[in-house]
């Protein structure tokens, strides 16, 4: 591990709204690990899903603006918790490598672009810059007994030539961090499947089917909770779990944590700092189950 770095932090729109608990838990965990997150001043929307479907130079300009501000503030690395923001920021960085393309973007932004900072997800920063072993050192209340399945979603690691992080089919970064936090990680075969993404607005039936399969498979593996790294995935799995249940005729109640929330719990950070109350499926039952299980195992080991 290198000495803790300073990162330009890009929360993204959802971080201030629908996934507030992801944002605050990320900040809390990074602070606990000694990382300095400096918010990009006056950041704007990354373009999200709509911009690049309309115009690539426009979409790139939106993200490049944020990167440019970070660069001017003298920050060499931008980090964001949201994989969708990550895609746009990274793609923008790649696009402006092309001189022609760069010119178009510079016209839109009324000025020349400096050398843009490197972009990585918070997950990558935790896994690569900090490292699972250092994370383990910070654990005060290990998540012993908690059986989790890590769900990365379809874009955290893909396309590999853009994201350049972990294995596009079998990522392990989150698994390793969860293991470091003391949880039992159950291999989840659908860890990079699509949850239906923003089709939740237009085609609820599609999302219900896709998330339903994720939840059903996870339940079949006997997990206590799902762990995510994407605001949209979390929303589909958590908020829409009842819709999925209705579509599939199932009755699953599986809490869907952000991995930062679970890390925070393991670091013994206060619940308010992790936004556990914002989760739709109440996580406390799962946490209790885990505690009991841990207790039972301990008793069994002692009597054995």
């Amino acid at each position: 591990m290198s000495s803790p770095r300073t990162y330009a932090y890009y929360p993204g729109c959802s971080g201030l709204g629908t996934s507030m608990e992801y944002d605050i838990s990320t900040r809390a965990v990074c602070k606990a690990l000694g990382m300095t997150l400096t918010d990009i001043p006056d950041w704007s929307c990354c373009g999200s899903t709509p911009a690049h479907t309309v115009d690539h130079s426009f979409s790139t300009a939106l993200s490049a603006r944020n990167l440019k501000i970070a660069a001017k503030a003298g920050l060499s690395t931008v980090t964001t918790p949201c994989p969708s923001c990550l895609t746009n920021l990274k793609t923008a960085g790649k696009n402006v490598k092309d001189a022609e393309f760069k010119k178009k973007v510079e016209i839109l932004l009324d000025g020349q672009l400096p050398e843009l900072p490197e972009v990585m997800s918070v997950l990558q920063a935790l896994y690569e810059d900090i490292g699972a072993d250092v994370v383990a050192e910070h654990v005060k209340k290990p998540l012993t007994g908690l059986k989790v399945a890590c769900y990365y979603g379809c874009i955290m690691n893909r396309p590999p030539e853009v994201m350049e992080f972990d294995d596009p089919e079998h990522p392990i970064a989150m698994d390793k961090l969860m293991e470091a936090a003391g949880a039992t990680v159950i291999p989840f075969p659908l860890k990079v499947e699509c949850c239906g993404a923003s089709l939740g607005v237009a085609r609820k039936d599609v999302v219900a089917k896709l998330t339903g399969k994720l939840i059903d498979t996870a339940a079949g593996l006997g997990v206590d909770a799902l762990v995510t790294a994407c605001p949209l995935c979390q929303m589909n799995l958590d908020l829409r779990q009842d819709q999925a249940n209705a579509a599939l005729g199932t009755r699953h109640r599986i809490p869907v944590f952000y991995y930062t929330q679970l890390l925070g719990l393991a670091f013994d950070l206060p619940e308010e700092a992790l936004g556990l109350d914002k989760l739709c499926v109440d996580p406390h039952h799962a946490l209790e189950t885990a505690k009991e299980r841990a207790q039972n195992t301990k008793v069994r080991e002692e009597t054995a």
């Binding site: 294995d167 596009p168 089919e169 079998h170 075969p189 659908l190 499947e193 498979t217 079949g220």
Partner: protein, 652 residues
């Protein structure tokens, strides 16, 4: 000197982008040219006859033909001028097709360039002198590298033709990939039943010397006179004494050795004979697993061996064989499927390769021919075959079609139904490629008679669900996604070049393509030759091939060798280096640079002088450019000739 120039139209190949008549006209102004004309097809019979007639009519001393690449027709025209009564080296060729008409569209510029190339050829020809090839003896023995079905066929055909054959096989038994197959398409006949007798023939043929468990260390020499060093790898068993009784295998306590013959399905003993029909049927110790070799303890095999054949202290041995021709039949390797992470091969025990499945089907395989899931030994009912794993996929650098996977998958679907009548096979495919004799009928039978369900589309993902696996892919004919619950998933892996192919190619001085497959002399007209005289190809080392094609090429290679050896002497190419002894100062630079070891220093009246071994010289010219004195010259490509060409170009 009287020179004739013939400018070929090559139909529209040249005439479409060059004006041959104008090129001929400009040639008439060149020194010594007494006739220049254009001709529709110079290589055709009337074309060649035209050249011959002109040689006689104008009493020509030399001929220039401006046409296609010398690689295609230089030999043709040299024979023609020889028929006309002049020396075959009094001929020059200007390549105005590949170098002109095929690469430029501007007819005027092309015509000028063609005229310049002709001018260069004429200037070179003016300085040509007749060369007479020397004759040398041939060693009429042939070495065949690789003992798969192609190598076996080539070996038997050569041996039956009366030649002495050296067969070199790197594993401990011949038979190759075919020996691992259960049945073969499209006849569904037992693979080892048709191959086994051929393997026995190899062992018993008086003309065949078999080096099993051996590899080519190095090879030198030239057509007719190769010298090969063969490394006989350590077997730790004296094969002279070993009778193949198998007692050592029975008693060996180390029973966790990798079973390479069974494609790592199951394990074997540290000392083993790979399979019951192995030729030679001799034991080999796997040093990686042998307790005696690792820890120095055990020695059970030595104790039980009735013929005292075990030799723990054995070491590699290198033997030298002299041969006149080489047939390369090193075959292929299977594509490493683990790059397809989404299929979970190597991670999920019941996702296996087609060749592993073949071993499960085989009566001599690890399960005695009963299809059992590797994970729990249960009989699978739903079996999904995924085609094109490592074929036709640019993303894994295998854009080529492996050719035989469609067929063996159909065969395995048929055999599955035979083994487990209440089973259901599903085949995810991209296209069905079954162009051989009785092939399409065969795949249709798999679908229509055996009820295999073919789904057109790539598989996106395989993941476990309980005891089963969900195989999800596109059904591009239905326009939907398909999800199949499978008990067993078989990946129809494609073919890639055998490991170490480029290294072997370097030793043999033959070409290979970007995937490591060996290159034939000409893709259509020289399918078994290489660009190195006396080295021939057979089987899948040239590209993926099925058994019939491999056997056919094995026989073709044998025919080529027999044809080569039907002459008692070969002619050496006289375009070799020549040392001007007065100019040579004996510095030895040429000796150092010659890649073929064709130049040596000799004592000439107390002075060291370079001497060229003409039969070894390949005419590459490296020595000529190295010599500081200009004392060594390449015949037919002397400094004077090349400078004359350059001057001709600069003048125009």
């Amino acid at each position: 000197m009287k020179i004739g120039v013939f400018v070929c139209h090559c139909g529209s190949n040249i005439a479409g982008a060059v004006d041959p008549a104008k090129v001929a006209e400009s040639a008439r102004a060149l020194p010594d040219v007494v006739i220049a004309t254009d001709t529709l097809y110079a290589c055709s019979e009337p074309g060649q006859q035209g050249i011959i007639d002109a040689v006689k009519e104008y009493e020509l001393d030399g001929v220039v033909v401006a046409s296609c690449t010398p690689r295609m027709h230089e030999a043709t025209f040299r024979r023609a001028v020889e028929r006309a009564g002049i020396n075959r080296y009094m001929f020059e060729m200007a390549n105005i097709r590949e170098h002109v008409s095929w690469i430029g569209k501007d007819k005027e510029a092309n015509t000028n360039k063609a005229a310049e190339l002709v001018g260069m050829a004429v200037e070179k020809l003016r300085r040509d002198r007749p060369l007479i090839p020397k004759q040398f003896d041939i060693n009429k023995r042939v070495m065949i590298i690789g003992g798969g079905v192609a190598g076996i066929q080539a070996a038997l055909d050569c041996a039956d033709g009366g030649l002495e054959v050296i067969l070199v096989e790197k594993t401990s038994s011949i038979g190759g990939k075919m020996a691992k197959l259960d049945k073969t398409f499209p006849t569904v006949d037992c693979s080892s039943c048709i191959l086994g007798p051929r393997m026995v023939d190899v062992a018993q043929h008086p003309n065949i010397t078999l080096y099993a468990y051996s590899e080519i260390e190095s090879i030198s020499g030239y057509v007719g006179n190769f010298q090969a060093n063969i490394r006989k790898k350590t077997t730790y068993v004296d094969w002279e004494l070993c009778t193949g009784c198998g007692l050592c295998m029975e008693k060996c306590p180390s029973k966790k050795s990798t079973d390479h013959f069974n494609e790592k399905v199951g394990v074997t003993t540290a000392i083993n004979i790979p399979f019951p029909q192995a030729i030679p049927k001799k034991a080999v110790i796997d040093a990686e697993f042998c307790t005696k070799l690792i820890k120095g303890k055990c020695g059970v095999c030595a104790k039980v061996c009735p013929s005292k054949a075990i030799k723990y202290e054995m070491e590699d041995e290198v033997v030298t064989e002299n041969v006149g021709a080489v047939v390369v039949a090193t075959g292929f390797d299977l594509f490493d499927y683990s790059v397809y992470g989404e299929y979970g091969a190597g991670k999920y025990p019941d996702v296996i390769t087609s060749l592993q499945y073949e071993r499960l089907l085989s009566a001599s395989g690890p399960t005695g021919g009963h299809i059992k899931r590797p994970s729990d030994g249960k009989e699978p009912k739903n079996i999904v075959f995924i085609q094109c794993v490592g074929s036709r996929d640019k993303s894994v650098d295998r854009p080529y079609c492996s050719g035989f996977c469609c067929m063996y998958t159909a065969k395995q679907a048929i055999l599955t139904k035979d083994h487990i009548p209440d089973s259901q096979s599903y085949v995810f495919y991209m296209d069905i490629r079954s162009p051989g004799k009785m092939y399409d009928e065969f795949t249709r039978r798999a679908m229509e008679e055996y009820g295999a369900r073919y789904i057109r589309g790539r598989v996106a993902m395989v993941y476990p669900k309980g005891e089963k696996y969900i195989v999800r892919g596109a059904d591009t004919l239905m326009g939907t996604t398909a999800e199949i619950e499978a008990d067993l998933v078989v990946l129809a892996v494609g073919a890639e070049a055998a490991k170490g192919s480029p290294q072997l190619a370097e030793k043999l001085r033959i070409s290979y393509d970007k995937y490591g497959f060996f290159m034939e002399g000409h893709p259509k007209l020289k399918p078994v030759e290489t660009n190195t005289a006396g080295v021939y190809l057979a089987g899948a080392c040239q590209g993926p091939k099925d058994i019939p094609s491999s056997v056919a090429q094995g026989s073709a290679a044998a025919a080529k060798v027999l044809g080569l050896f039907s002459k008692d002497k070969l002619e050496s190419d006289p375009q070799v280096s020549h040392v001007e002894i007065k100019r040579c100062v004996g510095c030895g630079k040429c000796v150092e640079t010659c890649p073929f070891g064709a130049v040596k220093l000799v004592d000439f009246r107390g002075m060291p002088k370079a001497e060229v071994i003409e039969t070894v010289c390949q005419g590459c010219g490296i020595c000529a450019v190295t010599c500081p004195q200009g004392a060594i010259q390449l015949e037919h490509f002397t400094d004077n000739q090349i400078l004359a060409e350059v001057n001709a170009l600069c003048r125009s």
